[in-house]
């Protein structure tokens, strides 16, 4: 099956990376040769990839509306332009596999079974959100569906996923783990310690480094002196590969090969996915630090949905009606999810004291807190309400 890289450009520009590329002869990628895994996708699966990307984008757009209506509490984080990276990689996992998403992996979570209503409830801090209002945005997990929620401290999920996959290895289970890391988070000690330990133990772990050019406002060159993050693999004795993160099929291919390798017991692979963060770090960030025209160029020339749509229609010969049907389904689902989330109650205040330890509960309510309900009711809303810059 033919596949195209994004329109050519140089340096940080769009499409700098064409398809996948091995880390050079010093590291043995161990990636199986032969037909690309994506060539074996069914037509239904080919459409699924589009569905997940569209759902990701539209759901975030809905969240923007809710944010503007101040119904989202706290910051709003977008993955605009990175949907292919999240969706294509998660799509390479099996149901029993486990992934740990980052703030820009809404798409990965959806593929893994997260529901739009859960996401909206999380953002609205509702009492029936997956974390019962305790954690924000997409910080949640569900082991049954195979995803573990991150904490804010960057890098920490790498050791955790090392342990998850170590347990697979110790118990002889043919399961794989996948952990996402931003370009910025590769600088953390946790990334280093976790990856090194996983490599020594040959854990069935895939580490996806999402190189979207920035860590908040900090460009890659101020984050690290390497130019290709896949080269970080060389310090751990594992293969490092790089792929075009805005080409969903290329992402699927490179991830699937690494997942298969892990499942075969051959250990850790580091994948660098080249993409671009078209929105700011969070909704409040005005991106003043971005060179003029850069965002527009990526939008115009290297949007992952546009690119995949072209593949679907021009190469795979899906017709417009099939695409339109998906778009409509996505809209309906998000509408329903929004309605359900808006109707959800806020948490009961005293639920805050439940579940810090296993039963029996060890936390006693504060003794002077008889009148707390009214205290909460009367509490003035902070001026920064809804505009917290997280």
């Amino acid at each position: 099956m033919a596949r195209r890289a994004g329109p050519g450009a140089k340096g940080r520009g769009p499409g700098a990376v064409a398809g996948t590329r091995a880390a050079g002869d010093r590291s043995t990628p161990g990636v199986a040769r032969g037909p690309r895994p994506s060539a074996r996708l069914s037509r239904a699966q080919q459409l699924d990839l589009y569905y997940w990307m569209r759902l990701t984008r539209s759901l975030e757009e809905r969240l923007v509306n809710l944010y503007r209506q101040t119904k989202v509490i706290g910051g709003l984080f977008r993955s605009l332009g990175q949907e292919a990276d999240a969706v294509g990689s998660a799509f390479a996992l099996e149901r029993r596999d486990v992934l740990s998403p980052l703030i820009r992996n809404l798409g990965s979570m959806l593929v893994k079974g997260a529901k739009p209503v859960e996401i909206i409830r999380q953002y609205m801090a509702k009492g029936d959100s997956p974390t019962r209002g305790r954690e924000l945005n997409i910080h949640y997990g569900d082991l049954d569906r195979g995803f573990i929620g991150q904490i804010s401290h960057l890098g920490d999920m790498v050791p955790v996923m090392t342990g998850v996959t170590l347990s697979f290895k110790l118990r002889g289970e043919a399961r794989v783990g996948l952990v996402y890391v931003g370009d910025g988070a590769t600088s953390t000690g946790s990334f280093h310690e976790g990856l090194n330990f996983a490599a020594v133990q040959r854990c069935p772990l895939v580490v996806v480094v999402e190189n979207n050019g920035y860590a908040y406002s900090t460009p890659l060159a101020r984050q690290t002196a390497v130019t290709e993050l896949k080269d970080k693999a060389l310090a751990y004795g594992i293969p490092g590969v790089r792929a075009d993160g805005n080409d969903v099929l290329a992402v699927f291919d490179v991830t699937k090969e690494a997942v298969d390798r892990a499942r075969r017991g051959e250990g850790v692979t580091l994948i660098e996915l080249m993409t671009y963060r078209r929105k700011g770090h969070a909704e409040h960030d005005n991106q003043s630090y971005v060179p003029a025209g850069e965002i527009e160029r990526w939008e115009r020339e290297d949007d992952p949905l546009d690119r995949y749509l072209r593949v679907l229609t021009a190469e795979l010969e899906f017709d417009d009606a099939m695409i339109a049907a998906i778009d409509a389904r996505v809209k309906d689902e998000i509408d329903a999810a929004t309605d359900a989330a808006e109707a959800s109650p806020m948490p009961e205040p005293t639920d805050a004291l439940v579940g810090i330890y296993a039963e029996p509960a060890l936390i006693e309510p504060l003794w002077y807190r008889a009148g707390v309900r009214s205290a909460v009711a009367a509490h003035e809303r902070a001026a920064g309400w809804g505009t917290f810059h997280g």
């Binding site: 706290g74 009492g127 000690g189 908040y216 948490p347 805050a352 002077y368 807190r369 902070a382």
Partner: protein, 325 residues
């Protein structure tokens, strides 16, 4: 003079100290072109250039350690934590390397580590922390946590000039919510001295940071509704702690409440209670009571956060009990 916010006061202190002493430089994530997550360092890059305003990789232990090394060589680094919650990543470096440097190696390590702290802002468990108790236990560090714009400026200037490492916690809820006329001139507030935020005679509230304002609100209400005269002691410096000021207020009112936003167990209030016990036991007419957050990670949703954090009404309730004791 125009009123200055708490945030702007901090910015001014940085600016003035960098003007005054060229060994002062700042480092942290996104503090340069972007001006920091809360814009505390806005404009500093333009004024002082890239070699004195250094954007770092995401590596808190790395850049705190680097600050220490530079400090040994005579520099005066000021480190920004993007949120103070991430100071935990530098815990080893701060407690084992930085704090012990003078004692074990006679090597001064004058760094300042500062950053946005505290809750009441719907930040959730990892953007709302109050890390003071975790470091109170570390001899060799100093800890300040101002409640007013004037103290924010004056204490930061003192911290930068201090010959020892200082953790400077800024309450992000206060950043843009409070403002005041700042004293002119070279306004430096000495580390180690508490401040009487309100005079009173019936009972004392010992507190610091954002809860100073909750205590002030409660005191107003208690005065109006109960005719109670409440004294409020704003500690400002937690390490060293101003024992003399604590003892003085206890002797004056004989009834004490310690209020802090941080969780209760192992928090600063326990230390204050122990000190009062040791130094002014005979002057106590009632037990020292603590009003603090409940012992859980701070949840995100407003009803939960409001429930967990100490509120003005809690202070009022406890003050009434204390007065009636």
């Amino acid at each position: 003079m125009a009123e200055t916010t708490y945030l702007e006061a901090i910015r001014q202190a940085l600016f003035e100290e960098m003007e005054r002493d060229e060994s002062v430089f700042i480092l942290g994530e996104d503090i340069g072109a972007y001006g920091g997550a809360f814009k505390v360092t806005d404009g500093l890059l333009d004024r002082f250039g890239e070699s004195r305003v250094i954007d770092t990789p995401i590596s808190e232990a790395g850049f705190v350690g680097a600050a220490a090394g530079a400090a040994h060589m005579g520099m005066r680094p000021v480190v920004e934590m993007q949120f103070i919650d991430f100071i935990s990543c530098a815990y080893d470096m701060l407690t084992n390397y930085v704090a012990t440097s003078r004692y074990r190696a006679m090597l001064p390590c004058p760094i300042v580590v500062r950053g946005p702290s505290g809750g009441y802002v719907r930040g959730g468990p990892f953007h709302s922390q109050n890390p003071e108790a975790a470091f109170l236990h570390t001899p060799g560090l100093k800890i300040v946590y101002p409640a007013t714009a004037s103290d924010a400026k004056g204490l930061l200037k003192a911290a930068i000039r201090d010959d020892d490492p200082v953790l400077f916690f800024e309450h992000k809820y206060l950043y843009r919510r409070i403002k005041e006329d700042l004293p002119g001139g070279d306004h430096v507030v000495p580390i180690g001295k508490a401040r009487v935020a309100r005079e009173g005679k019936d009972l004392s509230i010992i507190t610091y940071a954002a809860t100073v304002w909750k205590a002030l609100e409660a005191a107003e209400q208690l005065e109006k509704e109960d005719g109670l005269s409440v004294e409020i002691l704003d500690l400002r410096s937690l390490l060293p702690m101003d024992d003399a000021a604590i003892v003085e207020t206890v002797r004056k009112t004989n009834r004490v409440m310690v209020v802090h936003e941080d969780t209760r167990t192992g928090g600063v209030a326990g230390e204050v209670a122990a000190r009062i016990n040791e130094q002014a036991f005979e002057w106590l007419d009632a037990p020292i009571l603590r009003v603090t957050a409940a012992d859980v990670p701070l949840p995100y949703s407003p009803p939960l956060e409001d429930y967990v954090l100490p509120q003005t009404t809690d202070i009022v309730t406890v003050a009434r009990k204390l007065a009636a004791y």
